[in-house]
């Protein structure tokens, strides 16, 4: 029952967002058809293309046709790539998702020990150093960080590739995630190739969430340190590492998980800078171009993808809360 109710809310959010975006891209000024046809396009050519795309119909008819297209797995022709938006998303979305998941994984793996150590050694040199790292992460623009990483690791040291997702042949497509596909097919050269290509952009994209998650874990750990059960645990002779990582971190991590869940879909919006700098063939870059060129179908398609990602990750995060804190499950 709980699951069905959540599913209904998710559907309502997705439909609402798609409707809003559908209308917005059509009412804001700008004629993408004229641009798509290029200089010299006369009124007759523009009208022909508008008719072919159904843009001469009333907006509610266009929307119903759009929904009808979705049932057939089509999201309308993109004026950026002249093919169906659903195909574009199918091609590019796995690249962006792989990048975001890699960056968030890296951020969490680094943030946990940094946050815990900062809390345990509060106001020490280690704490101040970690704070500095966090500040750098949120202050420096991704654009600049990306170019510096390319210059240093890609050009001067020359041990990371500068752009792209893979140099050699990609692994056989199963999930479209190169790391997973290469492991599933035991293609270790492709795995290594994909991993080294992913390293730099994932690192750059992880800097901002790393900073935020570190600060949050640190603050929550400090809160936990003042609680009675910690004093009791210490009094019973429990090792500090066990107290910190098994008990304190579990409680301190819950708010961080909310933030992580919120960040994943947000990263889809901000990833376009990293995708631009590293020429990563993802959906975020396509989405940014769709919006600036007023590509109706592209913009709505990408928005749909992001809204689905938001509702799904929120759902997963909510369910994970129940795992971390059984009291939440009981209350439901």
């Amino acid at each position: 029952m709980h699951f069905l109710r959540r599913l209904l809310y998710m559907m309502l959010v997705i439909v609402g967002v798609s409707m809003l975006m559908f209308v917005l891209v059509r009412v804001i000024p700008g004629d993408p058809i004229a641009k798509a046809l290029g200089q010299g396009a006369d009124a007759a050519s523009i009208k022909k293309m508008r008719d072919q795309m159904g843009l001469d119909q009333p907006i509610y008819i266009q929307y119903f046709r759009y929904i009808e297209g979705i049932t057939r797995g089509q999201l309308g022709m993109s004026l950026v790539e002249y093919r169906d938006t659903a195909e574009i998303i199918k091609d590019k979305f796995p690249a962006t998702l792989e990048l975001i998941l890699a960056s968030m994984t890296l951020a969490v793996i680094l943030a946990i020990p940094l946050g815990v150590v900062s809390a345990l050694k509060r106001n020490s040199l280690t704490d101040h150093f970690n704070t500095l790292i966090s500040l750098i992460g949120v202050s420096f623009p991704q654009f600049w960080s990306g170019l510096m990483v390319q210059l240093f690791f890609g050009y001067i040291l020359a041990f990371l590739p500068i752009t792209g997702r893979i140099s050699g042949p990609p692994p056989m497509a199963i999930t479209q995630f190169f790391l997973i596909d290469s492991l599933l097919t035991l293609n270790f050269p492709a795995f290594w190739d994909a991993l080294v290509h992913l390293a730099a952009p994932a690192f750059v994209l992880s800097l901002a969430p790393l900073a935020n998650i570190t600060r949050l874990i640190r603050a929550n750990m400090i809160d936990e340190m003042s609680k009675d059960y910690i004093n009791v645990s210490k009094a019973t002779g429990m090792p500090q590492a066990v107290i910190s990582f098994k008990y304190m971190l579990r409680n301190a991590f819950s708010p961080a998980m909310t933030m992580i869940g919120f960040m994943i879909p947000l990263q889809m919006g901000t990833a376009f800078v990293v995708e631009q700098v590293f020429a990563w063939p993802g959906i975020a870059r396509f989405g940014a171009e769709a919006i600036t060129t007023n590509d109706f179908n592209g913009a709505v398609g990408v928005t749909l993808v992001i809204s689905v990602a938001v509702v799904v990750t929120n759902f997963i995060v909510d369910e994970l809360y129940g795992v971390l804190d059984p009291r939440i499950k009981l209350r439901r």
Partner: protein, 546 residues
């Protein structure tokens, strides 16, 4: 015995090392010669009717071929067509095709393919079709297996030059892969198929295209229109890299052999210090101008427009904002200029003020007008030139504010004189290398087109008549004379603020041979069947892993 054993071992090792080394050299020599080009813009799709940007045009020139080929001296030379004739009334163009020219699937190009290709473009519409809008679907005919006839309802002097954009497509292959669609027995006319596949006859055949990532092509071994030279390119790879600093880093690292012209002048300046790189600089056949809306006061007064031209400091524009260039002489780029002695408005504030005094508007009236200069928001160069322009206008008391807007907004606004911006910056390129492609914007035919130049709304009956006479003239000398007179009159009326032609910079590694500019038409400078590599250059071996 022991000594013998040691000598045998050393000798064996030496022989083995020598053999291994020679095997490596032999293997290295068998590797294909690649050319790796960095491009800022991704190719939206492979359909030859939708060549919407520089990358798409570039790629199409390698995958497909045309009836004629551009030549900087002769304008065009036979290519797939071996000869042609034009009817005295200029309405019928008959081409005789060469025999034995093959598509990539091994089938021969015939007149039917040419007819199909033109019918496809004119029926479906699209970007390239706007250049052939006078041709009706079904009017192109195959007279026999190798003779094709184009029938134009009206004279179109730029028809031959337009053919550089007309790519011949394999009819059988396209129809074999057609999907259901709105074009009767032709289905979707192969639209879905051609988005991700090619049906051409060019020097390179497509291997793979990953949208927004890369495109790979390999040499078509049966290509016969150019002679294969030693060490010519076997494989071409386009890498789509939107960020110019990233592209420059890859070039300098040796991961690219050459790039397009998007790398900025400050980075090029550093590259020039690298002895392994060559940077060629050429005047790009584009006209940078500030489009003026001739309908909106006070810009409806030619004296005000002349004043604007005198006040615009073009030299700062092309020397300090762009990589270099020269001032524009009238509405045509140098390569198409019909007369070489066209007036250039010098930067002269006193003359500008004197012009304003002659206008129908008083100084107080001129101060009251609040005008807008539209520059594309995503281009730093456009915005900087816009700021320069606005600052220059302030010097003569004109109130112009810059607005950074989207390209679409400028195009849409241009469609009506009431909505067209007072000024809009545009760099008009010579995709079709013919004067009429530029002059059309200064006639009523160009009014209201969804493109910045459509917002000029200038009309001078004498200019219209001269251009019409030029279009009608079959003799090239007479045509040039009419266009020259029109060019001078337009310059005098100053319907736009004439800016400059800029320098395009082409960086490449020293082992790349065969770059040629001008080629006679744009985007043919990266036709890779004319390129060779110096395979003995150590940098080539290092960069390509030989």
């Amino acid at each position: 015995m022991k000594r013998q054993f040691i000598w045998m071992t050393v000798l064996s090792l030496m022989i083995g090392w020598a053999l291994g080394g020679s095997l490596q050299v032999a293997y290295a020599q068998q590797k294909p010669i690649q050319i790796r080009l960095g491009n800022a813009m991704a190719v939206p799709g492979l359909d030859p009717k939708d060549q919407t940007n520089a990358s798409a045009l570039n790629v199409a020139n390698n995958l497909y071929d045309t009836l004629i080929y551009p030549d900087p001296e002769k304008k065009y030379v036979p290519w797939i067509a071996e000869s042609w004739k034009v009817s005295p009334d200029g309405l019928k163009y008959t081409f005789r095709l060469k025999k034995g020219i093959l598509f990539h699937d091994g089938t021969e190009i015939t007149a039917e393919d040419v007819v199909f290709s033109m019918d496809r473009i004119t029926t479906m519409g699209g970007n390239i079709a706007t250049n052939f809008k006078t041709i009706k679907p079904g009017s192109t005919r195959a007279r026999d297996k190798y003779t094709v006839e184009f029938n134009l309802p009206d004279k179109y002097p730029a028809f031959m030059a337009s053919l550089f954009l007309f790519k011949i497509t394999n009819k059988k292959l396209v129809l074999k892969n057609k999907q259901p669609g709105p074009y009767g027995e032709n289905g979707d006319y192969g639209q879905k198929f051609l988005q991700t596949n090619e049906a051409g006859s060019g020097p390179f055949a497509l291997i793979e295209h990953k949208h927004g990532d890369y495109l790979k092509g390999k040499r078509f071994e049966k290509y016969s229109l150019t002679k294969r030279q030693p060490n010519s390119v076997d494989e071409m790879i386009y890498y789509f890299i939107p960020e110019m600093v990233t592209m420059a880093t890859r070039l300098q690292k040796g991961e690219l052999d050459l790039t397009d012209t998007t790398i900025g002048p400050s980075i090029i300046r550093e590259m020039k210090k690298n002895p392994n790189l060559v940077v060629e600089e050429h005047i790009w056949p584009a006209t940078w101008m500030a489009v003026i809306n001739n309908k909106k006061p006070p810009l409806d007064d030619p004296y005000v427009r002349r004043a604007i031209n005198y006040a615009f400091n073009k030299e700062v524009g092309y020397k300090q904002i762009l990589a270099g260039g020269r001032p524009l002489q009238g509405p045509l780029p140098e390569m198409l200029r019909e007369c070489k002695d066209t007036y250039v408005y010098p930067y002269d504030l006193e003359k500008a003020k004197a012009m304003l005094k002659q206008s129908k508007y008083s100084a107080d009236q001129l101060k009251e007008f609040k005008m807008e200069f539209a520059a594309v928001a995503t281009s730093e160069r456009f915005k900087q030139i816009g700021l320069l322009f606005c600052s220059n206008m302030k010097d003569i008391g004109l109130n112009v504010q810059m607005r950074a807007v989207r390209w679409d907004d400028i195009c849409q606004a241009a469609q009506k004189p009431e909505t067209a911006f007072h000024f809009a910056l545009n760099a008009n390129t010579a995709k079709i290398p013919h004067s009429v492609a530029f002059l059309v914007w200064f006639t009523p035919e160009g009014h209201g087109v969804g493109y910045p130049m459509g917002g000029i709304y200038y009309s001078n009956p004498k200019v219209n008549e001269l251009i019409r006479q030029g279009n009608e003239a079959m003799d090239p000398g007479k045509q040039s004379d009419y266009y020259c007179q029109a060019q001078k009159m337009i310059t005098d009326d100053a319907p736009v603020a004439f800016g400059f032609e800029n320098i395009a910079q082409y960086p490449y590694w020293r082992y790349v041979k065969g770059f040629k500019f001008p080629t006679g038409a744009q985007y043919f400078e990266h036709r890779f069947d004319r390129y060779t590599m110096d395979v003995n250059d150590p940098m080539f071996r290092k960069n390509q892993g030989w």
